[in-house]
C-alpha cells in the first residue's frame, strides 16, 4: 500500500486559539503598564471612588468602541457611531430632560432612535449593497445634522434621576464600575449564543457562512442595530454623567473608537477579536489622557501617545505573526 500525502497548506500564522493569544497579552500588558504609570504619578488613584471616576470618563468611549467592535467583527466599519451618539445625547438633554424630567419615559425614544439609526446603516449596507465606509460616512453627517436641529448649542439638561443614578453607587461600588462589568457580562453571554457564533462566521468569510446555512444579511443587519443601540447608550450615559449635552461632541470619538478596537486586537478584516479586549483598548486610551492631564502636558502629547500606542500594537502583532509563522515551518 502506498499512500499519497495530501498537499500541505500552511496554517494561518497568527494564533487563533481563543483565550490568551499573543495579541491579547500585548493588549493587557499595555493596559497594565499604563495603570502602573498612572498610579506612580498619582498614588491617590488607588481607591474605588477614584477608579469609578476614571471609568466614568472612559465609559462613552468604551460604549462607542464596543459598538465599533461589533461592526468590525463582521468585516465592516461604522463611521456614524459619533453621529448616533450626539443625536441620543441631544434627545436626552432636551425632550427627556424637559420640565425637570417629567417625561423620563422618553428615554425609550432615545434608545429607539439609536436602533433606527443602526438599522438605517444596516439596510444601506445589506439591502442596497453600499460599502460600509461610504454608507456610514453619509449617515454620520446626516445624524450630526439631526443632533444640531434638536440641540443647536451645548447645554440642556438631562432628567435629574438619570444623573443621580449614573453618578451614584450600587452597594458601595460606583455605578460606572457596575456598568462596565455589565458590558463585559453582556458580551460574554452574546458571545456564547448562537448569534455570537454566526457573527464570527460571517466576519470570517461570508460565502462559507452562507454555505453553512447562516442568514448572512440578517446577521449583518442585527450587528448594525446592536452598534446603534450601544452608541445610543453612550450618548445617554454622557448626557447623564456630564449633566449637559453637546451636539458636536461625536466626531472626536469616531477614529478613537476604531483605535480602541485595533489596540484591543480585533482584526479589521473581521472574524477575529472581541469586545472584552476592546474595553481594555478604550481604557488604555483614557489612561493616556489622564496621565497627560495629571502631568499638565500639552494635549498634543496625548494625541501623539495614542497614535504611538496604535502603531506599536500593529507592529508588535505583525512581528509576532511573522515569528510564529517561522516557528511553524
Amino acid at each position: 500500500m502506498t499512500t499519497v500525502t495530501p498537499p500541505r497548506i500552511r496554517p494561518i500564522p497568527v494564533s487563533l486559539r481563543r483565550g490568551w493569544s499573543w495579541s491579547n497579552i500585548i493588549t493587557a500588558a499595555i493596559l497594565g503598564a499604563l495603570i502602573a504609570a498612572d498610579l506612580s504619578i498619582q498614588p491617590a488613584l488607588g481607591n474605588l471612588v477614584q477608579i469609578g471616576l476614571l471609568i466614568e470618563t472612559a465609559l462613552p468611549l468604551v460604549l462607542l468602541a464596543v459598538a465599533q467592535t461589533f461592526v468590525v467583527l463582521v468585516g465592516g466599519i461604522d463611521l456614524s457611531v459619533g453621529g448616533v451618539y450626539v443625536v441620543t445625547n441631544a434627545i436626552t438633554v432636551t425632550w427627556v430632560g424637559l420640565h425637570g424630567g417629567a417625561h423620563q419615559w422618553l428615554l425609550v425614544v432615545a434608545l429607539g432612535f439609536g436602533v433606527a439609526m443602526g438599522a438605517l446603516n444596516g439596510l444601506l449596507v445589506v439591502r442596497l449593497g453600499f460599502q460600509p465606509f461610504i454608507a456610514t460616512l453619509g449617515t454620520w453627517t446626516i445624524f450630526n445634522g439631526i443632533a444640531l436641529t434638536i440641540l443647536p448649542t451645548d447645554g440642556g439638561s438631562p432628567p435629574p434621576l438619570l444623573s443621580n443614578l449614573l453618578l451614584d453607587q450600587v452597594a458601595g461600588i460606583p455605578s460606572s464600575i457596575v456598568i462596565l462589568a455589565g458590558i463585559v457580562v453582556a458580551w460574554r453571554l452574546l458571545r456564547a449564543s448562537r448569534f455570537g457564533m454566526r457573527m464570527y462566521a460571517v466576519g470570517a468569510d461570508e460565502e462559507r457562512a452562507r454555505l453553512n446555512g447562516t442568514p448572512v444579511r440578517t446577521v449583518k443587519l442585527c450587528v448594525y442595530v446592536i452598534a446603534g443601540l450601544c452608541a445610543a447608550l453612550a450618548g445617554i450615559y454622557a448626557a447623564g454623567a456630564n449633566a449637559s449635552g453637546t451636539p458636536t461632541g461625536g466626531d472626536a470619538y469616531i477614529l478613537t473608537s476604531v483605535a480602541a478596537v485595533v489596540i484591543g486586537g480585533t482584526s479589521l478584516r473581521g472574524g477575529e477579536g472581541g469586545v472584552g479586549m476592546t474595553v481594555m483598548g478604550a481604557m488604555s486610551l483614557t489612561l493616556i489622557n489622564d496621565i497627560v492631564g495629571a502631568e499638565n502636558l500639552n494635549t498634543w502629547v496625548s494625541v501623539a501617545a495614542a497614535s504611538a500606542l496604535l502603531l506599536a500594537m500593529v507592529i508588535a502583532r505583525t512581528l509576532i505573526g511573522a515569528a510564529l509563522a517561522r516557528r511553524r515551518t
Binding site: M1, T2, T3, V4, T5, P6, P7, R8, I9, R10, P11, I12, L16, R17, R18, L189, A192, S193, R194, G196, M197, Y200, A201, G203, A204, D205, R208, A209, R210, L211, N212, G213, T214, P215, G271, E272, T329
Partner: protein
C-alpha cells in the same frame, strides 16, 4: 429500496453570462443508490451539484425528491430538504474550532446560550462515530491539514442523516486511505437509504462504489445506465465525444538548445529540490496530483514568490527574478491559474489587458502611443483568435474561453522565451481548448519553451514532449513522449505501484 423514485432532475438550464453551462440536464437517482456523475472538466457537473445544494439557482428546470418538488433558493432550503453537499472548496470556517464548525447551526442551547462543554462532548462523540477520534475538537480548523479539513466536511454533511448526499470531487485532494474512507461513508449513507451523487474523475472509484452512472457532456446528459452495463471505453467516448482526434495537434520536434535549467530549487510551499531542464521549442509537462508544488514552482519561476535556494539559468545566463516585472524583462511569461483574479483587469478593455504587461514599450516621451499599442493588440488578438471588433469591450463581458485567450494574448505579446502555463485549459470549452493547443504548438515551433501544468492528465499525454512528475514538491521522475500515458504519470505521482488505476477524464 432501489428503484423507488428518489431524486429526479428534469430539464435543468443554467448560463453564466454568455456561457451556457447546463442545457437541459435530466438525471434520476434512486434512494439507496450511489450514482456517479461523470464528464469532462466544464461539462457542468459541479454546476448541477451546486444547484442541488442551493448554492446557485437554476435558470429553468425542476428537482423532485420522492415525487415532491424541491424549491432550492438558498443553501438553507437545500439543508431543510435533507440535501447535503461535501464542498470541494471546503466550507468549514477556519477561525472557528472543530467543535464549533461541526455543530454550527445545530448547537444545543440553554436559555439561548451554547454550553461549550456540551458542544465539545457532542463533537467528540460525532468524531468518534466516524472513527476520527484523533482530531481534537478544540483546535481551530485553520490549524488542521487540508486532508483533515476535507474529512470534517464529510462528517458535517453526514451529521444528520441526509436524504441526498453529494460528493463533488470530495476525494481529489485526499490520500488513498482517506479517499476510501470517504467513499465508504458514502456507501454507508446509501445503505441507510440516501441518494448519493458521486462526482469524480477516477474511474476506479466509479467501478468500486457506483451503482449507476450518468455522463454529462457540454451541459447535457448523454449516457445513463447501470454501472455494470457501460464499460470504460464507452464511458470515455461518452465523456469526450468524438472530438479527441481533432483536439490535439501534431507535436513539432523540439530544438536542442537549452532554454531554462532549474537546479536544486526550493521555495515556500515547494520543499524541493526541483531539477529540470526545458529546451527551446519543448513543451515540458508538469504532472502529478493537484497541489504537489506545481503552482509554487511556476510562481517562483515567474518572479511572483522569491525562492529560498537553488539556481536557475535562462538561455545560459543566471536568472533570479525579484518580481514579475523582472521575469517579463527576461521574457518569461506566466499564465496564472485563476484568470479572473490574477490574470485580468476585468473592468478594463481587451486591448489594455493584452498590453498590460508590456505597456512600457509603447511609451514615447512619457506618453502612451495609443496607435502602436492598438497595432500590437490587434496583431496578438488575431494570433489568439479574438475578434478585433472586441478590442474595445470590457473583459468582464466576455465568455470564460475568450477571457482565457486574452490572458494568453498578454503572455505571448512579446514572444516569450519561456512560457509558464498553470492549468490554462480548466473550465474552458473544447473549441477554445483546441485553439489554445494550436497556439502552444505554434509557439513551440517558434522556439518558446513551455512549462505546462494541467489538472487534466490526458492533455499532458497528448501535448507534451516530456512530463516531469511532481510529487510532494520534488520531481519524482521524467516520462518521455514515447512512454507517456496517464497511467505512467499517476504511477510516478503516487510513488511506483499505484494501487488504483485512476483515469482523469
Amino acid at each position: 429500496m432501489k428503484g423507488t423514485p428518489g431524486l429526479a432532475v428534469a430539464d435543468m438550464y443554467k448560463r453564466f453570462g454568455a456561457v451556457r453551462v447546463l442545457e437541459g440536464v435530466t438525471l434520476r437517482a434512486g434512494r439507496g443508490e450511489v450514482h456517479a456523475v461523470l464528464g469532462e472538466n466544464g461539462a457542468g457537473k459541479s454546476t448541477l451539484m451546486r444547484i442541488l445544494a442551493g448554492v446557485i439557482r437554476a435558470d429553468a428546470g425542476q428537482v423532485t425528491l420522492d415525487g415532491r418538488p424541491l424549491s432550492l433558493s438558498g443553501p438553507r432550503d437545500a439543508t431543510a430538504a435533507g440535501v447535503r453537499m461535501v464542498f470541494q472548496e471546503l466550507s468549514t470556517i477556519p477561525q472557528l474550532t472543530v467543535a464549533e464548525n461541526l455543530l454550527y447551526g445545530r448547537e444545543r442551547t440553554v436559555l439561548g446560550l451554547v454550553r461549550p462543554r456540551t458542544r465539545r462532548r457532542a463533537a467528540r462523540a460525532l468524531l468518534e462515530r466516524f472513527d476520527l477520534g484523533r482530531i481534537d475538537p478544540d483546535v481551530p480548523v485553520a490549524e488542521l491539514g487540508l486532508g483533515d479539513r476535507q474529512l470534517l466536511e464529510v462528517v458535517k454533511a453526514l451529521r444528520d442523516e441526509p436524504r441526498v448526499l453529494i460528493l463533488d470531487e470530495a476525494t481529489s485532494a485526499l490520500s488513498s486511505t482517506d479517499s476510501r474512507w470517504v467513499l465508504q461513508q458514502g456507501r454507508r449513507a446509501a445503505g441507510a437509504g440516501a441518494v448519493v451523487l458521486l462526482v469524480t474523475h477516477r474511474l476506479a472509484e466509479v467501478r468500486e462504489f457506483a451503482d449507476r452512472i450518468t455522463v454529462l457532456r457540454a451541459g447535457v446528459d448523454v449516457v445513463s445506465g447501470a454501472a455494470g452495463e457501460i464499460d470504460d471505453d464507452a464511458l470515455i467516448a461518452a465523456m469526450l465525444g468524438r472530438r479527441v482526434e481533432r483536439l490535439y495537434p501534431e507535436r513539432p520536434a523540439p530544438g536542442e538548445e537549452e532554454a531554462i535549467r532549474v537546479s536544486g530549487l526550493a521555495a515556500p510551499g515547494l520543499p524541493g529540490p526541483v531539477d529540470l531542464i526545458a529546451r527551446r521549442g519543448e513543451i515540458l509537462g508538469l504532472g502529478g496530483l493537484q497541489g504537489q508544488g506545481q503552482r509554487e514552482l511556476l510562481r517562483a519561476l515567474a518572479g511572483a514568490t522569491p525562492w529560498t535556494s537553488g539556481e536557475v539559468r535562462l538561455g545560459g545566463r543566471d536568472y533570479e527574478p525579484r518580481s514579475p516585472a523582472d521575469a517579463l524583462a527576461r521574457r518569461v511569461a506566466y499564465v496564472p491559474e485563476d484568470r479572473q483574479r490574477e490574470g485580468l483587469f476585468l473592468a478594463q478593455s481587451v486591448r489594455r489587458n493584452m498590453t498590460a504587461a508590456t505597456l512600457g514599450q509603447f511609451v514615447r516621451g512619457g506618453l502612451l502611443d495609443r496607435r502602436r499599442e492598438n497595432a500590437a493588440a490587434r496583431e496578438v488578438a488575431q494570433t489568439v483568435g479574438v475578434a478585433a471588433a472586441r478590442l474595445g469591450s470590457r473583459v468582464s463581458t466576455m465568455s470564460g474561453g475568450n477571457q482565457q485567450k486574452v490572458v494568453l494574448g498578454k503572455a505571448i505579446l512579446n514572444r516569450p522565451a519561456v512560457l509558464l502555463l498553470h492549468d490554462c485549459t480548466r473550465g474552458v470549452d473544447v473549441g477554445t481548448k483546441a485553439s489554445i493547443f494550436a497556439l502552444m504548438t505554434e509557439l513551440a515551433k517558434a522556439g518558446t519553451a513551455i512549462l505546462f501544468y494541467s489538472s487534466d492528465l490526458s492533455e499532458l499525454v497528448h501535448m507534451c514532449h516530456r512530463v516531469a512528475v511532481v510529487a510532494e514538491g520534488r520531481v519524482a521522475g521524467h516520462i518521455d513522449q514515447a512512454e507517456l500515458s496517464e497511467d505512467a504519470i499517476l504511477r510516478l505521482a503516487v510513488g511506483h505501484g499505484a494501487e488504483s488505476k485512476a483515469v482523469a477524464a
